[in-house]
Symmetry: D2
């Protein structure tokens, strides 16, 4: 069962609410003997944490991680890792005004209907804050990947904000770290900063498209038919709050292609098969081919906005709602490190799963 | 683990290759006491089966289902249901010419790399033929849904073929059954038939977008955070062979919306909350809200085409390939009943899961 | 979920009722490239099948296995294996007299209470017949073990019938195959044959203790704390119909030992650590140590007996019952191959699981 | 996967080492709306905690539980509960002398072989200390049981210490709480205290048999064939450190019975079926019948003893070992609350699982 757990052999269970005392995760199945300390996890949390610039929520959290179990003398022991992050800036009063009414576009009403009650402080469990636990777990997954698939690299970027897409021809990986929007296209980044300043003034928000690419992924990862690599990536990304669509390779645009245009032709390169294009996004039949694994997902605009919206209360009264407090004009920005973490988690899990079944031996070509 | 199993409480395990003696599935966790016979399953298989018109593969299979276990005197016993469909038209010779070379865009090379060998006859396990087992299992799921959520209805349709989208304004549900392309827009259906005739002549293929809508879905289905209804739907649809993208509600287009445009406002209707729009696709925070659940997925064009393509052999030789035999110019057509089946499977599983945790009790409004 | 599935990476799903058309299983996660044909499975089914001598049920079943998927040109492909055995001797009339009343000691009443209905023909799903599927799956597990742990051997034996225990001092492994009771002590076997002839005359039955020993098990199998090797073996054996107790090593008798008597001392042998005794049954902390893995389980006497017993009907009437038909005076006899199969399944699963997490690398000593 | 998780719908993941900063668990799938606070958990931890009398380890731990998530305003929200207990009395120096050598009968060598390293402080993950997390989770399970099966009660007792069994004829449930050994037979308790004083002087230890009985268990719990109630109980109890055998009802003694003696006859009572005996231990065919569920398990003697024992070091040297520090002369004593917790966890999980599949509706009799 997977209510709050994710993965099979490399398995993460997350817990914690936005305004509770802490949040965290248990990482189970980690290979033993790997060097691991807070210094391997903290940098990734720092990339995700709020309050870093004017474009994200001004909530102040240090997001300091503690490793409570599973490490002895700096090495993983193979037992369960418990990671905990304390919440330090829970200003619950911000949410008092909305405790009795449902925010349109938010999980409020759905939690109320399913569970009969909800934790209204900061969205409780449905808060973007939960993704800190994913990023922490993802950092452990990166340590596993570094050991088992040394050349593997994961690079997330925001490739569209609102209706304004970055220009693929202008993509420069080095640019991603230079702007606060994880945008690989400097011109687009500049435009988006202007867009965000406008949104902050108007109290509105906007959606985004995130692209996560993993290079150096070994061929053979993925377990057809219901543990396909792309199916697990789709679930992973869709499980992130606010995600409404997931694409692999050509994605939705594959529908518009002909078979002759879509199918990636194959030639022999110096190190084995080489594909002449990558419409497949590195995955065929649910199995990685050695090409870059390319995933994109759409993040809807934050529903906590200043614009008054029509809604109801739990008592059934028709009211208006306006969400004050600290919010993200484009929550997609902070989804970039989260998407990377989910990619790392899926790949680490599949590396172990493949090794379990096949021993990691690959079919030969040539 | 989920290599060949799908779902948790309502759990399906499929088996079988395109050109083996049979294929089938085990359906586990079905509630007891439900009336079930082959007559509840066969009609859905008949909708999916090949050879029904000139637009799909001419392979001739009756796809007759046998129920081998789990039913006594016409009622489910609560034990495992075994469903089997014999293959009767396996013309393996069609595939002799491609046994030594990898079809671009096909799972061939990925299976070879992962497993060191593959069943080349008709794609083996990666064949669209596997979806017959999904449709059979989906028919059992429909029986469960009819018992536990009486008003629930599932309607799949092809809404785009190649670059040509049907016009939402012209959608007529009654039209879907009138044309062989499951198209809700009669004018589009006519255009697409022409497109397909052209593709058959040129030996090429084309992709499609399928939309599956479930109405009458009870609120409260979905298990945050890693068993969210949308995450499970994304995995379900992405696990179908050839699918490259999945969208819920507004989908990828949600990125382009502002928060004020996207969030579905809420009012009270005679029977409870009513949403004034459905950008959410019936799911908030991973939980159904009672609105129609709307999923779309893109099916890439069939990779088995007549157009010669560059590829390699297992020996590493650079060759060309041309796939003769019986194929679908638009395999998306037959994906419509499959998408419906996956929707039914996910909903049946989540109905049982929700009932397990909450007893099916809902939070009250008003 | 594990209603009808067993194992994690090497995972078996069984289906079928005693008097349905067939029974079988799906074996998922099998490593690819292993030579496998019916000839690898049939001999193990032949050892278990009924009607082989006067001490077991006289039902006549050939128990011929068919492999319906997962094998291509004599090798496993890594995809799901479907194994099927047709039932040929279902004399349902034997059970007509008991369809309306519950056999004391039988699952009848429990199935009725849980599911609201049951398949009364031969016990339906709770029949010992289901174990044929376990034996078939176990045969596949043996092929995996032969490939991954070449020296591993599994030997089951009946070590107690009724209150009469075989004498461990007289155990001769070669004797097991010489008598129809799988008894390693020739003198005990002779006594038991007499006991069984008496029971058949009186229409009664008797219980038994089965011991299954696996030698050559690699150290390091088992996944603390909830996938411990002994916990999984306990569940595996207890899941066999009629089993009421499971012991590892010293078992229940460990309670009576002092710490100094129980703990197996360790010395260095030519090939590494050697234990001077085996009270642990080859498992410490839930992990195999390299010593023989020793499991015993108690099988209760068959509840289908000729002796009249007091019971009730579904209508609540108080009646007597006498079970005619074909039965086993000591169903424990046929449990020997089943216990071996479950041992093979657990070990194969844990070999793959350990390989997934650790790569099969072992800590060094000396 | 179940390395550090247990259960399916009511699912517990435990973490923490004996001498780390803390230990705890995540409880997933808890029904929403249940009143829950530390006061519901602490009393059960207090029963298990060390240092309460001279017969158990003198380690001093308050075992104070914190609820970090999953509760809002005193009620469960249906999201993951995180429970944490800080370790306060980790005297690691006690273990310095054994860090380089393996204790016979202990998990030391097995962890070393599997993982290549181990946390030697207090046994690390294999310490009895981990059971505190089970007891905390079990307390939550009791809250679930109280809500869903109001009359259900669980009562654990020590029924044998060393070779000295308590006298079933003298069992008095009220006696259990009166002596520090959870013994239902006052005379046996007195004898055992003398035995323990002798063992403490000699620095040795002894095993025990624990019996856990659940009364008021609804009929219909258990999911044949691989989620049988008895199979899950067997795994649950065998997963407790030091357990070597598990019995249901008549247990291993069932082997010695005839079918006519073993099968529990059935009559109609005022409230439905009544069984005239309970050799089945409340479970038939893996499903509860409404009779008391009776489980016994054997706990081996602690391996940490003062008596010098032959062993080896990781370097392969042959040495002697003597374990000083704080230990339990009969660790079985503290296993009583743990066995009760595991019973509660299994029953809560199966209540939810059964409700998922059947809606909790029962077949009628009479």
């Amino acid at each position: 069962m997977s209510d709050n757990s994710f993965g099979h052999l490399f398995r993460v269970t997350t817990w914690g609410e936005s305004h509770g005392p802490a949040l965290g995760c248990v990482v189970d199945g980690c290979p033993p003997g790997l060097a691991l300390g807070p210094e391997d996890i903290q940098p990734w949390l720092d990339r995700r944490k709020p309050g870093q610039n004017r474009f994200v929520t001004q909530r102040r959290e240090d997001d300091l991680v503690r490793i409570l179990s599973g490490v002895h003398e700096g090495r993983t022991t193979g037992t369960a890792l418990s990671l905990m992050i304390e919440n330090t800036d829970q200003r619950s009063k911000d949410y008092g005004a909305i405790a009795d009414r449902f925010r349109p576009g938010h999980a409020d009403i759905a939690y109320h209907l399913k569970y009969g009650l909800r934790d209204p402080r900061g969205g409780g469990r449905s808060s973007a804050r939960e993704t800190a636990a994913r990023v922490a777990a993802g950092a452990v997954a990166r340590v596993v990947l570094a050991a088992l698939a040394p050349g593997l690299a994961i690079r997330g970027a925001m490739v569209q904000m609102g209706a304004d897409a970055a220009d693929p021809a202008a993509f420069d990986p080095a640019e991603i770290a230079r702007n606060p929007l994880w945008c690989p296209d400097a011109a687009a980044a500049a435009r988006w900063e202007g867009m965000l300043d406008g949104l902050r003034k108007s109290g509105d928000s906007v959606g985004a498209v995130i692209e996560v690419v993993a290079t150096g992924v070994p061929a053979g990862l993925g377990a057809p038919l219901y543990g396909k690599l792309d199916a697990d990536l789709a679930a992973a990304m869709m499980s992130i709050n606010a995600v409404k669509g997931v694409e692999i390779g050509a994605g939705m645009a594959a529908a518009a292609l002909t078979g002759s245009a879509n199918a990636d032709e194959i030639r022999m390169g110096p190190d084995g098969p080489e594909f002449l294009s990558n419409h497949a996004g590195g995955i065929l039949g649910g199995i990685s081919t050695g090409q870059p694994v390319v995933v994109r997902f759409a993040v809807k605009p934050t529903s906590s906005i200043l614009t008054p919206r029509r809604t109801i209360t739990a008592a059934g009264e028709e009211v208006e709602i306006q969400t004050k407090g600290r919010h993200d004009p484009c929550v997609g920005i902070r989804a970039v490190p989260v998407g990377e973490a989910m990619m790392a988690l899926v790949l680490a899990d599949h590396l172990l799963r493949d090794r379990g079944q096949t021993g990691g031996v690959r079919g030969t070509i040539g």
